[in-house]
């Protein structure tokens, strides 16, 4: 076996270990490479940053466990930004019933950090099927879509909701989503009721939603783990996404390295074979 063949026949398990290490080591020993902030993330941050204490934001955590890796850090960052500035938050989760668990996790964690009280500083409305109908109903009145909050209290008895009727009392809707539900928000809540919309989506989806940025239908957009890390940087509260970003960096480099090694082996091996063929 010559060197080229060796280069082309590394056991796949070695590759697997390398990939795993390129994620694990940066997590343990963060390099904290600088993260450049895109203008899409900055616009969203600035919009929320300009709100006054007491303003209300509707945050819809429309993702489920399968896209949690990318969406969860975004949700936490936005909640932290709101809570740290005294902005009140209404939370819904409209994509799938499985999303209830992840939404509640994010909300309770952020609320604990900032000692915020359910019913006074935030409300968790929960999930109802048929997102389009729910988004439209909330345009008329929150009580129409959600007579009770997630924990079963009557909306009339929740202090924070008093005086809030529909999107007109909301400064911005932010949807963090792993699915096409973002279209529903943009078309119905944004298009029909004129409320500004911001969004956080997975990396795969991000390219599909630039169109809404250009047309001004979205205030800002966070794309994938990178977008989440950008937001963590903006609110100066680095967390999971920032730590994960190092892993993402190194793992991407590792894969590119594999492609190059594989191709060098392939070409040199072909050349060697060709010259041998001529000799024989």
């Amino acid at each position: 076996m010559n060197i080229y063949e060796k280069m082309m026949s590394i056991d796949r398990r070695i590759l697997f270990v390398l990939i795993a290490l390129s994620v694990i080591i940066p997590l343990l020993k963060p390099l904290l490479l600088p993260i450049n902030v895109t203008k899409e993330a900055k616009h969203l941050y600035e919009f929320v940053d300009e709100l006054k204490p007491g303003d209300v934001v509707l945050l819809s955590l429309d993702y489920d466990p399968s896209t949690m890796a990318e969406c969860h850090p975004m949700a936490l960052s936005i909640l932290r930004q709101c809570f740290s500035r005294g902005i009140k938050v209404i939370v819904t989760s409209l994509a799938r019933p499985e999303g209830l668990g992840t939404a509640e996790m994010a909300l309770t964690q952020a609320a604990k950090e900032y000692r915020k009280k359910n019913g006074e500083d935030y409300v968790f409305l929960g999930y109802k099927p048929n997102a389009a109908a729910v988004v439209l109903a909330m345009g008329e009145n929150f009580r129409l879509a959600f007579p009770n909050d997630f924990y079963g209290s009557d909306l009339e008895n929740i202090p924070m909701i008093k005086g809030l009727k529909n999107y007109k009392n909301i400064r911005i809707v932010v949807t963090v989503s792993g699915s096409a539900i973002i279209d529903t928000w943009v078309i119905y809540a944004g298009g029909r009721y004129g409320v500004p919309i911001g969004a956080g989506v997975t990396a795969v989806m991000a390219t599909d939603y630039y169109k809404y940025l250009q047309s001004g239908q979205l205030v800002g957009l966070l794309g994938g783990l990178k977008g989440a890390a950008e937001y963590e940087k903006l609110i100066k509260h680095p967390d999971m996404a920032t730590k994960g970003m190092d892993g993402q960096n190194i793992a991407h480099l590792m894969i590119v390295f594999f492609i190059i090694i594989g191709n060098i082996g392939y070409f040199l091996g072909k050349k060697a074979k060709a010259s041998k063929g001529m000799g024989g």
Binding site: M8, I10, R12, L15, F16, L18, I19, A20, L33, P34, I35, N36, P65, S66, M68, A69, P97, E98, L100, G101, E104, A203, T207, Y210, G224, K226, A229, M245, Q248, N249, I250, A251, H252, L253, M254, I255, V256, F258, I259, I261, G262, N263, Y266, F267
Partner: protein
């Protein structure tokens, strides 16, 4: 049903919703058919004590436990959701993350610059992979803009052309089914 699209009238809307419901009901039965053949497959294995019949017990148990848990409702605190959160979801999420490893292995073994077009593909992939993470801008700043440009223009253009072609293909297949020209879904018997 194609005609319905152009008729906003209530009656037409009800026909449409009705048909959608019917399709869903039939799909429901088909789903049961799939689960039925799953159960038959595994009970057969059990009966013959075939290789790995123990795993069939696991499958059948999982199925029964989940179905029974579902009887008690689907809220966050129910056993159904708990099993979902702590068993079904981690396994599924982990299986998807296995792809990260397979991509690495495929990158090393399969992605060869065999031809000019394959080289184009590889280069675009590498640029996007590096350009989309912070370290890329550190190594070579313009790569970020290049990768964004690739995503915004050539990527969008190619997708649009494919979608146009696929769209026409889908419509003509649908027409052929309605006109009774396409019958291969019935098994090709003439």
């Amino acid at each position: 049903m194609a005609i319905q699209f152009f008729i906003p009238h209530q009656i037409s809307l009800e026909v449409y919703r009705g048909a959608l419901d019917w399709l869903m009901i039939i799909a429901g039965f088909t789903m049961v058919l799939g689960i039925g053949s799953l159960i038959i497959h595994h009970t057969n294995k059990l009966k013959h004590q075939g290789e790995g019949w123990g795993y069939s017990v696991v499958t059948l148990l999982g199925l029964v436990v989940m179905a029974i848990a579902g009887v008690r409702g689907m809220g966050i605190d129910t056993p159904f959701m708990q099993i979902f959160i702590y068993a079904q979801n981690p396994i599924q999420a982990t299986m998807f993350s296995l792809l990260a490893f397979f991509i690495a292995s495929a990158a090393y073994r399969a992605f060869r610059a065999r031809s000019f077009v394959a080289t184009l593909l590889l280069l675009a992939a590498i640029i996007v992979m590096i350009g989309r993470v912070p370290i890329g801008a550190k190594i070579w700043p313009p790569i970020r803009d290049i990768s964004n440009w690739l995503l915004d223009y050539p990527n969008m253009v190619a997708k649009r052309a494919i979608v146009l072609g696929v769209g026409l293909g889908m419509i003509s297949t649908a027409l052929k089914i309605i006109l009774g020209i396409e019958r291969s879904y019935l098994g090709g018997g003439k």
